[in-house]
């Protein structure tokens, strides 16, 4: 069970299958991507109508096809988060006051409730779509580089990059510890004992991570690290990137203003 979970996790975090394809978004400068996708997410959060959100989701589908990511893969990859969100949104069906369409006392489902739950789910889906599209088409190192070029403090980018580098290593370590424990468990144990041994496992993992952190730091010092680093990568923004940013922002502002001024639902 745990190993299959780990496999899925690794797949999601370290999927680089689509990065090297010569697709549309792959060729956009990472800074332009960060900028446009942030704008996209802001609009998705501000949007209040189903139509706007559907348009936004359609745009992500279109972009995924243009980037040579199979639509079916993309939908499967992105839809499991909205599934969770639907569960979270379910209470909205019952607690939102309004015209009820289905009543068994005391349960009362309202049209407004359905509307709210739907918008909530679609909104999350649109955001998740754009983020997954971003990470599927951008190498992690260039995301970090782009953040550095956008003047995000080095301490943050370094923290993110080291976290990314070691997160799977730590998970693997936890997995090995769990296996080692499993292999020495010969009879069923009480819930309390399982929790206790889990706690000691977590603390061991903490200590090990701390020690690894220490060694990594020493390895950095051994190669002359003095608290600051330089960066070699060059990035160039060209006309194509600017057009992409412009189009995304144009679409976002048109849909948003249409919603606000015309009251499209």
């Amino acid at each position: 069970m745990l190993s299959s979970f780990l496999k899925i996790f690794e797949e999601i975090v370290y999927n680089e299958r689509f990065i090297s394809l010569n697709g549309f978004i792959q060729n956009i400068d990472p800074r332009a991507k960060i900028f446009s996708f942030t704008a996209f997410i802001v609009v998705a959060i501000l949007a209040r109508s189903i139509a706007t959100l559907v348009i936004l989701i359609m745009i992500t589908f279109f972009l995924s096809i243009a980037s040579k990511i199979p639509l079916k893969f993309f939908i499967i990859r992105t839809s499991f988060i909205p599934l969770f969100v639907t569960v979270i949104a379910l209470p909205l069906l019952f607690i939102t006051p309004g015209n009820s369409i289905f009543t068994i006392n005391p349960v009362n489902i309202t049209i407004e409730g359905i509307h709210k739950a739907l918008i909530f789910t679609l909104r999350v889906w649109a955001c998740v779509n754009s983020l997954i599209l971003f990470t599927l088409t951008t190498r992690f190192s260039s995301i970090i580089n782009a953040m550095e070029k956008l003047k995000i403090p080095k301490i943050f980018t370094m923290m993110i990059s080291i976290t990314y580098r070691f997160i799977f290593l730590s998970i693997n370590e936890a997995y090995r510890m769990a296996l080692a424990k499993e292999s020495r468990t010969i009879k069923g144990e009480s819930r309390l004992k399982t929790i206790k041994s889990l706690a000691s496992m977590i603390s061991t993992l903490f200590i090990r991570s701390y020690e690894r952190g220490e060694r990594v730091y020493l390895a950095m010092i051994a190669r002359g690290y003095k608290g600051t680093t330089r960066n070699l990568n060059k990035m160039s923004i060209n006309g194509k990137d600017m057009i992409f940013v412009f189009i995304i922002i144009a679409i976002c502002s048109v849909t948003l203003s249409a919603e606000y001024f015309l009251g499209v639902v």
Binding site: Y14, I162, R165, L169, L218, M220, Y225, L232
Partner: protein, 279 residues
């Protein structure tokens, strides 16, 4: 004085918890030498290497590298002394291999052309050209080890220090490692210090050894050290497999028509051939 690479005198190191890790250790390594630090687990080998690189400060005694005191010139020394850690995952901390290889170079303040040139050269010398954009977590254990060596080679160290280099390597990885290390020694006259307990590996990459178990137990040529098998065993080690085989042959059938016990398969083959040709 310049031809002394590492000069350690009366070194003592006590851990913060009061545990004595090393005591009364004096080591001298000449430029261009291949020296092994041999010792069982927990003998203080890694601690010694950290002290040589100035990552730890000695409690007593002094460490000089290339004639400079490590505690005063640690930054200067780090660019001419490359330390390869035991676990490559500690040494590869960047999203791509290229960033890891250039990390030290950028810290040295070199200009971009030089960084690119040295980075490529380092990857080529360990046979990893074309791996620039690869992420460290996608590499195999052998590739990770080679990558870790490349990250310090890029800085063109005069002294290369390897901590337990054969840990987790498969036989092919070991063979490649031996080739890489000896190539470096031959082509760049690099000074080698290898800390390990892998006694079969040591004769392939070193000529001289210090046997360490918190204190120095012995020092000398490998042939002399390994022929004193009682001392080796007392130190918690064993002679190389080939040497043990010849030791047993000596005792059981008096196969003692040889000058010194062979340490490697090649030496053993040579001795056996010589014996057969004589008879």
């Amino acid at each position: 004085m310049v031809d002394i690479a590492i000069d350690i005198r009366d070194l003592k190191y006590v851990y913060p918890d009061g545990c004595v890790a090393l005591d009364d250790v004096s080591i001298k390594v000449l430029m261009g030498e291949r020296v092994a630090i041999l010792g069982p687990n927990g003998a203080g080998k890694s601690t010694l290497l950290m002290l040589i690189s100035g990552l730890l400060k000695p409690s007593k005694g002094s460490v000089h590298v290339l004639g400079m005191s490590v505690s005063e010139n640690s930054y200067k020394i780090r660019s001419s002394l490359g330390l390869v850690f035991q676990d490559p995952d500690d040494q590869l901390f960047c999203p791509t291999l290229w960033e890891d290889v250039t990390f030290g170079l950028l810290n040295m303040g070199l200009d971009e052309d030089e960084v690119v040139k040295r980075g490529k050269e380092a990857l080529r010398s360990v046979g990893l050209d074309g791996y620039e954009e690869r992420a460290p977590h996608h590499l195999s254990a052998g590739e990770k080890k080679k990558a870790a060596i490349a990250t310090v080679l890029a800085m063109r160290p005069k002294i290369l220090i390897l901590d337990e280099p054969t840990a987790n390597l498969d036989p092919k990885g070991k063979t490649e490692l031996v080739k890489i290390i000896n190539n470096l020694h031959k082509s760049q006259k690099i000074t080698l210090v290898v800390a390990t307990h892998d006694v079969d590996f040591i004769p392939l990459v070193a000529d001289r050894a210090y046997i360490l178990n918190k204190r120095l137990i012995a020092e000398g040529n490998l042939e002399d050290l390994f022929s004193n098998s009682d001392m080796i065993r007392e130190a918690g080690l064993e002679p190389p497999s080939v040497t043990r085989l010849f030791e047993l042959l000596n005792q059981s059938i008096g196969f003692n028509d040889i000058k010194s016990l062979p340490l490697t398969i090649e030496q053993a083959l040579y001795e056996i051939k010589r014996c057969f040709l004589k008879n």
